[in-house]
Symmetry: C2
Subunit: 311 residues, 2 copies
């Protein structure tokens, strides 16, 4: 007998990862959003409660990322099943940690589970992308794909969608530091230059190639050398106080690399141990305090499994 109700967790994700602008993302173990989905006896899809968003998110099922993803899934399946969605937001909105993706993915994984898992994880990606379309105006996949699949995921192409999971050969730890600033993805994207000099394109492609090789080999120094961004960072870093100093401090205490998570303002670093990742978080937090910015620090392993149904 199918369960009537289920709880699911979907993790924060780091999109772009410096040199992987619009094509790369990875998931962390913690933090993440949670949902409880309960099947209804009618065909209504209802967002019954949202906790932790300070009333900012819409309860309207046609506008909420969780319900929109579920609607998209049910439409493909030709199902009339109704469901109540209760959303626990742990990821701050507009933080650059894949908040909208996590809500959509958690709801999708829960709904798919309640239906007996008719779709594979890969096939849920296109529905999760509908959440992104609602949340930030474009159906990008660099948060939802790692959120669903875990690990580092390459979005090689959109038409048709071509996702490749990157086999990472060693445990890596991520530090996320979210200063209490809010940036909107649309705004961050608007400030990017529409064209780039050829030499920057060459630099960017050298670095993404180096990062992939570094992750697979593994070659930690190569990962560090490759975690550079000539596209978004030169512009977006101006919105993050003390950015260059944040990087220096994080590298000084042993992080392999440092950058902006998604379109910010959250910053991330990657380290080879929990201790280094913690140290990186501490020095970044201290730097932000120089600008009277409080921040939240999250340290966890790279998540290799993606969102999960909770027992």
């Amino acid at each position: 007998m199918k369960p009537k109700s289920v709880r699911a967790f979907a993790p924060a994700t780091v999109a772009n990862v410096c040199c992987g602008f619009d094509i790369l993302g990875f998931a962390v173990n913690y933090p993440g959003d949670e949902v409880i989905l309960t099947l209804r006896d009618d065909s209504k899809i209802s967002v019954i409660a949202i906790h932790g968003d300070n009333g900012k998110l819409p309860l309207d099922a046609n506008k909420n990322t969780a319900s929109v993803a579920v609607q998209s899934l049910l439409k493909e399946l030709g199902s009339n099943q109704g469901v109540n969605i209760e959303l626990f937001k742990n990821l701050a909105l507009g933080s650059g940690m894949g908040s909208s993706a996590a809500s959509g993915v958690a709801a999708l994984v829960a709904m798919n589970h309640l239906l007996g898992n008719p779709l594979k994880r890969e096939d849920l990606v296109r529905h999760a992308m509908e959440s992104e379309r609602i949340a930030c105006g474009s159906a990008h996949a660099d948060n939802v794909a790692p959120c669903l699949l875990g690990g580092f995921v390459l979005v090689r192409e959109y038409h048709p969608l071509d996702l490749v999971k990157i086999p990472v050969a060693h445990d890596l730890f991520c530090t996320l530091v979210h200063p209490h600033l809010e940036l909107k993805t649309e705004d961050s994207r608007r400030v990017l230059k529409p064209t780039l000099p050829l030499k920057d394109v060459i630099t960017q492609s050298g670095n993404i190639a180096g990062l992939i090789l570094g992750l697979i080999k593994p070659d930690f120094e190569l990962i560090g050398r490759s975690l550079k961004d000539v596209i978004a960072e030169p512009i977006r870093s101006a919105f993050i106080p003390g950015f260059d100093q944040l990087r220096s401090k994080a590298i000084e205490v042993g992080a392999l690399g440092f950058g902006i998570s998604g379109s910010g303002p959250t910053v991330f670093s990657i380290s080879t141990s929990y201790e280094k990742a913690m140290a990186s978080g501490e020095v970044i937090e201290q730097e932000f305090l120089k600008y009277q910015l409080a921040s939240d620090v999250f340290v966890s392993k790279i998540n290799m499994e993606g969102a999960r149904v909770m027992e």
Copy 2:
């Protein structure tokens, strides 16, 4: 006792490899240039003969790619050793097969051998780059690095030089077809656009990441999907008659991917078997004949060892 004279072979190389503009190259087993180096009793570096170039290459030791590379090596070593260089050109000039790189590399490997191999292969790269500076105006490494090291080599960065050999998990075969046209690298580079739209940068980085993953996994279909070039090919392909048709025909007979070798006019395809690589060469040769262009076809495995001293 050190040998007084030695013969060395350096292979043709394919730079760019579609999505690896300026950062990627690989070596083939055949064809390649050869040199014979013979130590002199004085300190003179002399190009005593060049065969197969129809008199086009300079005998002046300050202008010939082979002797310039050797001069650079000897300078680093602080050596006064003189040498006679005899060069056997099998690679056509301006063909896009790394002709200048091969001559420089063959001479370096031979000279290093005669001196008892004081330098490792990696350390010969910077001297080979001096050949490229003489031959085409810029000291690029995407031909000389695979020519020296074998296999697929990533040139992640130039300052400082960062070369990474890509561990390719499966035998691959390369088809090179050189139509009897001559293009100069400087001219080919001049026609490239100085800036690119952001969307092309994203496409390019997705494809280079996909190619690297495809080579390592191996995932042949992913290699095929990733072998696309949005930077140089849209412009350079106009100099190669029937280009789109060449690609279709090669793919039709089983090649994974097809593109311009270096800055052309030689085209290459990559296949998973010798038979498919031969078939690809045949159909491309036939297509060129429709434009009254004769061509040379070379089929070989990807070379994994780079240039070699011959017994």
